[in-house]
């Protein structure tokens, strides 16, 4: 799987304190949700992010590959 940006959206606004949990991803708060965007090297890295979300008790709302969108 080639390098690709992914956008992951979770329920609830996370503070910047949590950013280290999602190293390499940008964190943006939006109306009761948090949008995480980052470049995923491979599926393993992406699955790691999802695992982290599960461990923190977050509710996953969506995961999408941003194929042709520019990275941040």
């Amino acid at each position: 799987m080639p390098l690709c940006d992914y956008r992951v959206v979770v329920d609830g606004e996370l503070s910047d304190d949590i950013a280290p949990a999602f190293e390499g991803m940008s964190l943006r708060r939006e109306e009761g949700r948090t949008v995480l965007v980052g470049n995923m090297r491979d599926q393993a890295q992406l699955q790691g992010v999802l695992q982290r979300i599960s461990d923190l008790g977050l509710t996953l709302l969506s995961v999408s590959a941003l194929d042709d969108e520019p990275s941040f």
Binding site: G12, S15, I18, P20, R29, G32, L56, G57
Partner: protein, 751 residues
Amino acid sequence: MRSDSDLPPPIAEAKLAAPRLRANAVSRPRLLDALDGIDEAAVALVAAPPGYGKTTAVRTWCAQREAAVAWVTLDATDNDPTRLWSYVATAADRVRNGLGRGALQRLMLPGGSIEYAVDELLNALATFDRELIVVLDDLHEVTDSECLSSIDYALARLPPSVRFALITRTDPALELAALRAGGSLVELRTDSLAFTTDEARALLVEHGEIELGADDIETLCGRTGGWPAALVLASVWLRGVDDPQRAVSEFGGEHRFVAEYLSTVTLGTLADGTRDFLLSASVLGRFTAELCDDVLDRSNSASILKNLERSNLLVTRLERGGWYRIHPLFAEFARFRLAAEAPDSEREINRRAARWCLERGLLAEAVEHALAGAEYEIVADILVEHHNALIRAGRSRTLLRYIRVLPGSLISERLELAVGAAVATTVVGRGALERRRFLELVRRAQAAEPGRVSRYVETSAAAARAMAIEPDVAGAVREGRHAVTLALAGEDESVVFALSACATALYFAGDLEEAWAMAMQAVEHPDIERRVAGHAMARFALALVALDRGQLDTARIHAETAKSLLGDIGSSRSWIGAEASAALGSVNAAEGNLVQAEHELAHAERLFQDEVASVHHTWLLLLLARVRCRRGRLDAAESELASARAAIRELGEGGRLRALADDVEAEIVEAAARARSGEMLTPPSPAELEVLRLLATDLTAREIAAQLYLSANTVRSHTRALYRKLGVSTRADAVARAAKLGLLEQAESPM
């Protein structure tokens, strides 16, 4: 330096301790009733995200049922079936002395199958006179497919008085569909575990004594979705504020992620001392008061913990040993706070904890903290001393996982780790490249500073190379002989291993006399009882030498001994199990039991598959090709022969492998010739004959299917088999050949 340890591998006590029952917990009878559905079932699955009170519910339920409980809290290191079941067996043993002993013994057989041990455990548990519930908490941590298969195996065979309760954050990759369909599964999921408004009121108003109205409770339940962990945090928080109702209405308007928000505000309500304590303790996961005192430079941890435990639910005491656990979600967010306030403290806390645990002989805990704190020296020290114990107890996979984390420079300094890992890869299988890397480290050290490499390391490395037939047969023999010389001179524990490994290499080199002598010397060694792996290897060599000499009975005895040493090798997944399987398969082939032989040899071949070609694997390909040829499966035989030839070229091997390849090729050529000349190697089955009869008519394939009440696929499949057996590729040729062989007369008369 001798590195020997007959100690059993260390056990993390806290993993076997369930959380203590609290007197003032909110009573949730509907959950207990739901779980009681297990009376008609056998397995309870409790699945929900973290903080839903799963553990509490199961713990309370077990107490209420007055069942005996074998509780194991799993973690990521339990992705090793031997380790997982060792904990389960130990937990069973704590219920009643001796219940787990048989299983533990079987688990220590290197290369033995897990199912063998699970059978032993279940048999023992069946003798227990009361209800026994085995609880596997945090099952989501286990993702290894072998582990999961072994759990499936157990769940399908539970004795009537034994129940399993699986607590997990994610639905496990187990075969639950069958259990569900059979009504053997009881499930408790998120929607059931969420607090109702009544339960929330009981928690906050009755137990928490917080002044809140019905609206406030609604708001809290709405915002949290009934998430128990959040409501618990809310109760701690609201007890510490002056105006709880106002706090709740502000909370209602909050968008922040509930768990983080509540953890933060709760921390805000705590006194400084307590706050600091909790921030630091959140790193430790599980801890005792003494551990906290030492690691956090305090003397009052005991009283802080007692207070915390009594007054709120941030801290829970476990049943044994004075262990405590922090509310997991709170701990998660507290750690972030700590990282923001004091960046290096987490690592330092883990390092101190590692040393504390090491001093008290809590080795499993020490390793975990050391890894978390990147304190690799400690991990290395522990492994240098205990790696053999781990391998002997069947924990090779765990050993490898630990060693892989260590920096290469550290391993180069402590070559015991390199040889330990090399042997472990051989036990676990499919690790040829990794093994080479580790042995290369040893070789380089030997070349650079010969005096630095201890005799133990040198012997083990040489024996490992001999066992794996590296770098090639001739080299393996040299290494084997070297290992034997060193081992005998040093009188140390490697003697059996060295002798057996050398015997194997000698067999492949064609040195039958010497191979036999060495293997016998191993078997007759006084230590042989304790060296199961080496013993099995020696029997392997003896069986093969006997076969070569045409002594079928002797060969069978040795092959069967190898098998019985390891338990049921049918499901064994290791290199040693593969050797035993290969020996038995060879004996069966020689005796003409071709079906059995193919099964065993195919099993061994799969186990020997690796990233690179190897003598063992190539040898198995040839044995398999020969048996398949004799069973009439020429295509498969030819393909295996071709793969073997390619491997032989790659390995640059001559000797036994090439001779065997030539033999097998000759057999295949002859069989192909017989088939072409009209002789059928394998007669068609009755079903195939029916299809054959109709192939001789004008009917199309679809019409044939209709006439025989078969699917088109089935007809196609029978037709393919017929073509193969007849050695043809068209319908016309098939009919012609069949006529010539008189097969058409054998078929029933047309309808």
